[in-house]
């Protein structure tokens, strides 16, 4: 199986440790991962803000960069959703591009989908001795329908103390450009999400999307709560022994 990593422009630039975690995790599970250097961005910010013509060259670039792989893994629920749901829509008027997209898009998997559905593993041999709570991000939940796959993966982690997050399925208020276009509503939603997260008394908040984690983590950091945000991939990549890739501040 030829597996490619789609890091996403956001993780590439701000959270490279998440990408490194995906690589080390998949290699540990016996899979060689490629990183096609032609990749950049899925075009989600442009598309979701109403800039469709601006998103189109990025759709074309994506389809070209990932052509020929058996699977494309990405540590982002919302970017996986963008490719699978919206790339076909954007490519609709260009028969050549449409064929390329139809070929690639169905092979794009969010990390937990890839592990559970494609590789068929839930115990990835991770060790993470911390109190952790999990926030299911909206797009992984309601666009990709990953369901409890991330929780099944987390439950199998050794040493972890997993605590349930009350009101978990409620949006954190990030919403891409929403956070900037409607900063006050975004902050109000963030405040309520932080209240729930802090109530769990967890040390670490995890999720499958660094964008939501950056938003929640940015709020937690501003208040000096001491709670860390760590991408799911980094927890699953962690093993016993010398401290491996642990998340930085978000």
């Amino acid at each position: 199986m030829r597996v490619a990593l789609f890091i996403t422009c956001f993780n590439d630039t701000l959270f490279p440790e998440t990408g490194r975690a995906v690589v080390s995790l998949l290699e540990r599970l016996g899979h060689q991962v490629d990183f096609p250097l032609g990749q950049t961005c899925c075009g989600q910010p442009q598309f979701n803000t109403g800039y469709r013509p601006e998103a189109l060259p990025l759709v074309r670039r994506f389809a070209g960069a990932f052509a020929g792989y058996d699977a494309v893994v990405t540590p982002s629920g919302s970017c996986a959703g963008m490719v699978r749901e919206n790339h076909p829509l954007l490519a609709a008027d260009d028969p050549g591009l449409r064929r390329a997209v139809e070929e690639v898009a169905p092979k794009v998997y969010e990390l937990s989908e890839f592990l559970v559905d494609v590789l068929g593993v839930t115990d990835v041999g991770a060790y993470y001795p911390h109190r952790v709570t999990y926030h299911p991000t909206c797009h992984s939940l309601r666009m990709l329908r990953v369901g409890d796959r991330p929780l099944r993966l987390l439950r199998a982690v050794k040493g972890i103390e997993l605590v349930e997050l009350p009101g978990a399925e409620e949006c954190c208020g990030f919403g891409g450009t929403f956070a900037v276009k409607n900063p006050d509503v975004s902050a109000a939603m963030l405040a309520d999400k932080m209240r729930q997260v802090l109530d769990t008394r967890a040390e670490v908040l995890t999720a499958g999307d660094n964008s939501c984690l950056m938003h929640i983590g940015g709020g937690l950091g501003r208040l000096r709560t001491g709670m860390r945000t760590v991408h799911l991939a980094e927890i699953l990549a962690a093993t016993e022994g010398p401290a491996s890739t642990e998340g930085g501040a978000r």
């Binding site: 701000l14 442009q46 598309f47 800039y51 909206c138 309601r142 949006c171 900063p183 975004s186 940015g218």
Partner: protein
């Protein structure tokens, strides 16, 4: 005060929302009210094991009806007429109001016509600002739904489709009744029962006196000419049966092909709306019947932007709405800002996709309606809750593109469009992305402290007022990969 589809004087959503967010009482009321309805809805919808199939059927029925709307409306006109009713067509709000005013005036004797009407809660008549149009002609319209009455007495605006006074609590309602209701009982408490009793006494006499009632409609059956109103309090039943003349104003999208289709909608609507298996009162009437109910029935079919909406293949989904308000109750944005911030009779997620379409999307203005499609995180909770499976996030993004496209070609491009274009420029070439990453890492290091970037001035404040930003790492993933995998050329 229900002054039409788009309320004058409401600022764009972000500004209106900022003000609403400071209202502690509002946020407490909303959290409590929406939370309660939300849980009830989940409970009763889970009772039906064919819930998902019902949703699919409803969506399919609505889409099919919309595709052949002209045919079903003509069929409806024929069957209502055959049953003794009269059908009127109104292209817009002004025409609908003119028709209704004339009809009301015509019901009076030689002394100049009826001076008052009773009303059943209706979104369509709020959308056209009917009460104000009637008042301008010296005709008083009495709202008879409890929550609508509260809003009317307080000279307020509705903030929820189903529970227009959701922003008020018991204490506030008692105060409104005490100060605004002429015949208020002397010792009024804020017990729900006492408040309802006061409203009942206040309305009873109006029901018995009124010659004309005005209603909306939840459904109208093309095949039979039957019109339906679904309600909880029985005030609708009184209005629909006691007066001599009944005038129903209905959006053209409310037509359903056959009586059997109601089986689907009447299972979905009450469960989605109030979390009840069945609502207390469902009134259905077909034309007029000698000695039974109103002797005159008028049906006003309202367009007001609907056929224009119909022309948009993605946007037209919004016309399938059965006004259950489930999307409002699950919406994290609505829950925090309430209905008034949406500046329209249609608030919440459905308002965000319906109001701009009915008003005419992207006319290039920065007014309230064009800001509404952006008033969502696209979390998708509304789509999951909608009993007719309207893909609200899809329509929101579709309308965003329309708003953006309407602004293209301006001599002075918006800041946002410049940023988006620049981003695409960078992202269209991996080499440019690498350079931007290096520049960003350097910039971040200059302003960051301890791995974080705190509050920033200028255009960044919208983010950094409440959230720290991570300092970009010195090495991007791409750079790390190239350093550690020099043998791989990649593509």
């Amino acid at each position: 005060m229900s002054d039409g589809l788009v309320w004058l004087g409401t600022p764009a959503f972000p500004q209106a929302a900022r003000k609403a967010l400071t209202d502690t009482q509002l946020r407490r009321n909303l959290r409590k009210a929406t939370g309660t309805i939300r849980d009830k809805r989940l409970r009763v919808s889970a009772e039906l094991d064919d819930w998902e199939q019902l949703r699919d059927s409803a969506a399919a029925l609505k889409l099919r009806t919309l595709r052949h709307l002209d045919r079903y409306l003509e069929q409806l006109e024929a069957s209502v007429t055959a049953a003794g009713g009269t059908v009127h067509w109104a292209a817009d709000a002004a025409e609908a109001n003119r028709i209704v005013v004339e009809l009301v005036k015509a019901t009076g004797g030689p002394d100049g016509g009826t001076r008052e009407v009773v009303k059943v809660k209706s979104m369509a008549t709020q959308e056209i600002g009917l009460n104000e149009a009637l008042a301008a002609e010296g005709i008083a319209a009495y709202e008879t739904d409890l929550a609508e009455l509260i809003v009317q007495l307080a000279d307020d605006r509705p903030s929820h489709i189903l529970v227009p006074a959701i922003h008020r609590n018991r204490a506030e309602i008692r105060e409104i009744f005490r100060t605004r209701m002429a015949d208020v009982p002397a010792e009024l408490t804020d017990e729900p029962r006492a408040l309802a009793e006061a409203a009942r006494l206040h309305l009873r006499e109006k029901f018995l006196r009124a010659k004309v009632a005005i209603s909306g409609a939840n459904f109208a059956v093309a095949e039979t000419g039957t019109v339906l109103v679904v309600e909880s309090e029985g005030n609708g039943r009184m209005c629909l049966t006691l007066p001599e003349t009944l005038i129903t104003v209905m959006g053209v999208e409310k037509v359903v092909p056959s009586f059997a289709d109601l089986e689907v909608f009447l299972q979905l609507l009450p469960r989605s709306a109030t979390g009840e298996r069945m609502n207390p009162y469902t009134s259905a009437w077909t034309g007029v019947h000698e000695g039974d109910g109103p002797s005159t029935f008028h049906l006003v079919l309202l367009d007001n932007g609907r056929t224009a909406t119909l022309a948009d293949q993605v946007g037209r989904q919004a016309l399938g709405c059965i006004r259950c308000s489930a999307c409002l109750n699950v919406c994290p944005v609505y829950e925090r800002v309430g209905g008034h911030a949406y500046g329209s009779v249609y608030p919440g997620p459905i308002g965000a996709i319906l109001t701009p379409q009915l008003a005419g999307v992207g006319r290039g203005s920065e007014d309230g309606a064009d800001s509404l499609p952006f008033a969502s995180t696209l979390c998708g909770a509304c789509y999951d809750a909608c009993p007719v499976k309207i893909n609200i996030p899809e329509v929101l993004v579709h309308l965003r593109a329309k708003v953006v496209d309407a602004k293209r070609g301006r001599t002075v491009p918006t800041m946002e469009s410049l940023v988006m274009r620049a981003a695409t420029q960078v992202l269209a070439a991996p080499g440019r992305l690498s350079m931007a990453q290096k520049a960003g890492a350097l910039g971040g290091r200059l302003v960051g402290r301890g791995g974080r970037i705190g509050p920033l001035p200028g255009p960044f404040h919208a983010w950094s007022d409440t959230r720290d930003l991570p300092v970009p790492p010195a090495e991007s993933f791409r750079a790390w990969w190239q350093r550690t995998h020099p043998e791989e050329t990649g593509r």
